[in-house]
C-alpha cells in the first residue's frame, strides 16, 4: 500500500539493517543498587537502568532514592555512561497523582531517560519533562514496525521491543523506521507476552504489572486431560518457565540487524553476575566493532558468564518460537560455580600487595581468580593474608573487612576476586 502513513521512512534494505542513530550499539546493564551501578559502569556498560522508589516493576529490589540517583548519575557521567529509570508499571487510578512531580525529580537528578509502558506515564513525561527521553518499555509488547512507527510519531526516540520479536522482524523494523531499537540480550524473561500475565494477582493478590510478580510461571503444574495427569509418575511436571536468554554467540546478527541498545536483564542479580556478564558483552561488542570481518567469539566470554550463573540458556524468539528445549522442566537453579570473594581497593606495584575488601570468606591456600574490566584475569592460590594493621589471619571471615594479600599479577581497583565453590 502506498500511503504516507503506512509507508516506511526509507526504502527497506533487505539483508542489511541500516543504523540510524547510535554509531556503536549501547550496552545497557541493570543496577539494583548504587554499588551495582558502579560495578556495571566500571565493567563497561554504556548505560544502566535502575528503579526508583515508585512506579517501577521490581518492588522487591533495593531501588534508588533521588539522592542515590544523583550520585549514580555523577559516577556514571565520569565514564560517559547514562542512567535510565524504569517507570514501567501499568498504573491504577491511585498511582497517577504525583507522577509528574516524580519525573521532574528524575530530570533534575540528571537521569537521561525513563522506560515507560503505560501511555498515561508516557504522556505525562512528554508534557512535563522535556529533558527526559521516554523509552517505550518492553511491557508494551511492541513487535511490528507499524507499532514502532506509531510510537516514533508520538515523539519517542526509542522502543524496547517485545521479547517475542525475531531477528528478521527486527531487521525489517530497523529498515522501515528511523528510531532507536533496544532488545534484551541476556537474562531471565517472562514467558508470557509482557504485561499479559496476572498469575501473581490470582494466586497471591500481588499485582504483577505493578512490580508484585511472584514468578508463578516458574512453579510446577500438573497438566491434566480428562481429569488424569498427562505425565506418568516420575516424569517432569508442566511449567511455563523459560530458560534465560543468552545472545553472546549471536552479537554480529544483532548488530547487523541494526539493534541500537543491548539490554541485560537483572536488577535483582548480584554484583558478581552483573560485572561478569557486562564484561563479556563489552569485550564481544568492542571486538566485533573493531574488526567485523576478523571477529571470532572468545570461549573466555562464554566461560566467564558461566562462572557467575549456572542457569540453562536459550536464544528466545530471535531464531524462531521457543520449543521443548527452551523451557525449564528439570529441577531448577543450580548454584553459580564461583562466588564473589573480594573486591580490589588498591594495589602497590612495588610490593605486589593488593588491598581488598572481603565479600565472602576466603583463606590461605584457596584457589581464586582475579578478573577486571576488559578481560584481564588470572588464577592463583591465596598466600598469607593480613588485616589492615598487618596481623596475619587464618581466614578472612568478616564481611567488608579490609584484607591485604600478595597477587601473582598486577591488579586494579574494582577488580573482582572470585573463588570456586565446593
Amino acid at each position: 500500500m502506498n500511503s504516507a502513513v503506512l509507508s516506511a521512512d526509507a526504502a527497506p534494505a533487505p539483508g542489511k539493517g541500516r543504523r540510524y542513530r547510535l554509531d556503536k550499539p549501547e550496552l545497557l546493564a541493570p543496577a539494583g543498587s548504587l554499588e551495582k551501578l558502579k560495578f556495571a559502569v566500571r565493567y563497561g556498560a554504556d548505560a544502566v537502568y535502575i528503579g526508583g522508589r515508585k512506579y517501577g516493576l521490581r518492588s522487591n529490589a533495593d531501588n534508588f532514592s533521588i539522592e542515590e540517583m544523583r550520585e549514580g548519575v555523577e559516577f556514571a557521567s565520569r565514564y560517559g555512561a547514562k542512567v535510565f529509570v524504569a517507570t514501567n508499571i501499568f498504573a491504577h487510578q491511585e498511582d497517577l497523582p504525583g507522577v509528574g512531580d516524580y519525573l521532574k525529580q528524575l530530570e533534575d537528578a540528571g537521569i537521561s531517560a525513563i522506560i515507560a509502558a503505560d501511555p498515561a506515564i508516557v504522556e505525562i513525561a512528554l508534557k512535563t519533562t522535556p529533558g527526559l527521553e521516554v523509552h517505550l518499555s518492553t511491557q508494551q509488547s511492541t513487535m511490528n514496525w507499524q507499532a514502532v512507527r506509531y510510537w516514533k510519531e508520538e515523539g519517542l526516540p526509542r522502543v524496547v521491543l517485545a521479547r517475542e520479536t525475531t531477528m528478521e522482524e527486527i531487521r525489517e523494523i530497523k529498515s522501515r523506521v528511523d528510531i532507536e531499537v533496544e532488545v534484551f540480550i541476556h537474562g531471565a524473561m517472562c514467558s508470557s507476552v509482557s504485561g499479559r500475565c496476572v498469575l501473581s494477582n490470582h494466586f497471591t493478590d500481588r499485582d504483577s504489572n505493578r512490580g508484585g510478580c511472584c514468578q508463578s510461571c516458574r512453579w510446577k503444574y500438573d497438566l491434566r486431560s480428562d481429569g488424569k495427569p498427562v505425565a506418568e509418575p516420575g516424569e517432569h511436571l508442566f511449567t511455563m518457565g523459560s530458560k534465560d536468554l543468552c545472545m553472546i554467540r549471536h552479537l554480529p546478527d544483532l548488530i547487523d540487524a541494526g539493534v541500537d541498545s543491548f539490554k541485560i536483564e537483572g536488577r535483582m542479580k548480584s554484583i558478581h553476575y552483573v560485572a561478569s556478564v557486562v564484561n563479556a558483552y563489552r569485550q564481544a561488542i568492542d571486538a566485533y566493532m573493531a574488526d567485523p570481518e576478523g571477529y571470532t567469539i572468545s570461549p573466555d566470554w562464554i566461560a566467564d558468564i558461566g562462572k557467575a550463573a549456572n542457569r540453562p540458556l536459550s536464544t528466545g524468539f530471535f531464531y524462531g518460537t521457543p520449543g521443548a528445549n527452551e523451557h525449564i522442566y528439570e529441577p531448577e537453579e543450580k548454584p553459580a560455580p564461583y562466588d564473589f570473594a573480594a573486591v580490589v581497593l588498591d594495589y602497590n606495584p612495588s610490593t605486589g600487595v593488593a588491598t581488598v575488601q572481603q565479600r565472602s570468606p576466603f583463606k590461605p591456600g584457596m584457589e581464586v581468580e582475579f578478573f577486571g574490566p576488559g578481560g584481564r584475569s588470572f588464577t592463583q592460590r591465596v598466600g598469607e593474608i593480613s588485616d589492615e594493621q598487618g596481623n596475619r589471619l587464618d581466614v578472612a571471615r568478616h564481611p567488608l573487612q579490609t584484607i591485604r594479600l600478595r597477587t601473582d599479577c598486577p591488579v586494579e581497583p574494582w577488580d573482582i576476586m572470585r573463588k570456586k565453590i565446593g
Binding site: A120, M143, Q146, E169, S192, R210
Partner: protein
C-alpha cells in the same frame, strides 16, 4: 450487554437470550474468540446482528507481527463497509491503518490486563477510541473512579472465565515434546478440556489451551457479578461483557437471560430493584462443579 460469538447461529442464540451487542471476528486478528467467523461470512454476520437489533463489534485486538500487517487494511475496509459498529484494538499499528482506510469507525481500546487507568484511556481516546475495556483485575472502587474520570464508554466483564496468562510460545506442545509424547495428533485447543493444577492449590483448575495465537491460561473460577450489578450500573458502566469461552451455549444463554432481566428491571426502577434469586439459582444449577463463581477482583485489595 455484550457477548462474543463464534458463529452466526451462536450470535443469533445469544442475541435472543438478551445480548444487545456481539463481538465477532477470527483468530487471525482477534484474540480468544469462541470461534472464527471467516472473512467470507463477516459481512453477513454483521447484517444479521443488525437485523436482530444488536450491535456488531469486530475483534482485532491481537498484537501483530510484521507479516500480519499487510492483511489489516483490507479487513478493516471490509468490516467498516459491512457496517461494523466498532473495531476492538490493542496494537497501535491498528490505529495507523484505521486512520488510513476507515477513519470514521469507532474504536474500542482493549489492552486486556493492562487497561488499568483512565488517563491511559483518555490518551487512546484522543487517538480515536470511544470505549475502554477495563482490566479484570480492577476492584469496584477503581472501576467507579475510572468511570468518573473518563469521557469514554467503559466496558467491564461481568461473567465467565478470564484470561490470566497469554504467551506466544506453544507451551503445551513444548511440554508434550519434552515428555516425548506423540501428540501432534492431539488437539490442544480449548475444547480439549486440558487444565493445570498447582501443588498447593489442588482445588483450583486452570483451563489451558493452545491455538494459532499461542498458549492461553484461564482463571480457575468464573466471575459472576450479577449481585453487584446495581453498583456497576449506578456507577455508569456502559457495557457488560459475558465471556462465553469454555461454556456451553445453554449455559451462556442462561447467563445472558439473567443479566438481561436484571438490567431491564434496574433501569425501569433502580430504587425498587431486587436481585432475582431464581435467576442466580439457574446459573448455579448449570455451573460446572469444578469451577466456583466468584466476584473476581471486585472486592479485593491487591498489593505490590
Amino acid at each position: 450487554m455484550l457477548v462474543s460469538a463464534g458463529s452466526v447461529s451462536q450470535m443469533e442464540r445469544y442475541v435472543r437470550a438478551g445480548a444487545s451487542a456481539v463481538l465477532i471476528g477470527e483468530a487471525r486478528f482477534g484474540m480468544r474468540l469462541p470461534g472464527d467467523i471467516p472473512e467470507s461470512q463477516i459481512e453477513e454476520a454483521i447484517k444479521r446482528a443488525h437485523e436482530l437489533g444488536a450491535k456488531a463489534y469486530v475483534s482485532m485486538n491481537k498484537l501483530f507481527r510484521n507479516e500480519e500487517l499487510a492483511a489489516l487494511p483490507d479487513y478493516i475496509r471490509l468490516v467498516a463497509n459491512a457496517g461494523a459498529d466498532a473495531i476492538v484494538f490493542g496494537d497501535p499499528a491498528l490505529l495507523l491503518n484505521v486512520r488510513e482506510v476507515a477513519p470514521g469507525i469507532p474504536l474500542h481500546w482493549n489492552a486486556e490486563m493492562t487497561g488499568t487507568n483512565s488517563a491511559a484511556a483518555a490518551y487512546w481516546g484522543r487517538k480515536g477510541a470511544v470505549r475502554a475495556v477495563l482490566a479484570r483485575e480492577l476492584n469496584e472502587e477503581e472501576i467507579i473512579g475510572f468511570k468518573r474520570q473518563t469521557q469514554l464508554e467503559v466496558q467491564v466483564q461481568v461473567h465467565g472465565a478470564t484470561n490470566i496468562y497469554h504467551s506466544y510460545r506453544n507451551l503445551l506442545q513444548s511440554y508434550m515434546d519434552h515428555l516425548g509424547k506423540a501428540t501432534r495428533l492431539v488437539d490442544l485447543g480449548e475444547d480439549r478440556g486440558l487444565y493445570l493444577v498447582e501443588a498447593e492449590r489442588p482445588d483450583e483448575r486452570l483451563p489451558v489451551y493452545e491455538d494459532a495465537n499461542g498458549t492461553h491460561v484461564m482463571s480457575a473460577d468464573d466471575i459472576c457479578l450479577l449481585e453487584a450489578l446495581p453498583e456497576l450500573l449506578a456507577a455508569g458502566v456502559d457495557s457488560l461483557f459475558v465471556e462465553p469461552l469454555l461454556k456451553s451455549e445453554e449455559y451462556n444463554e442462561t447467563v445472558l437471560r439473567a443479566y438481561r432481566s436484571a438490567i431491564d428491571r434496574w433501569f425501569a426502577d433502580p430504587d425498587g430493584y431486587e436481585l432475582d434469586e431464581r435467576a442466580l439459582d439457574e446459573i448455579h444449577a448449570l455451573q460446572p462443579s469444578d469451577r466456583e463463581l466468584s466476584f473476581g477482583f471486585l472486592y479485593k485489595e491487591q498489593v505490590y
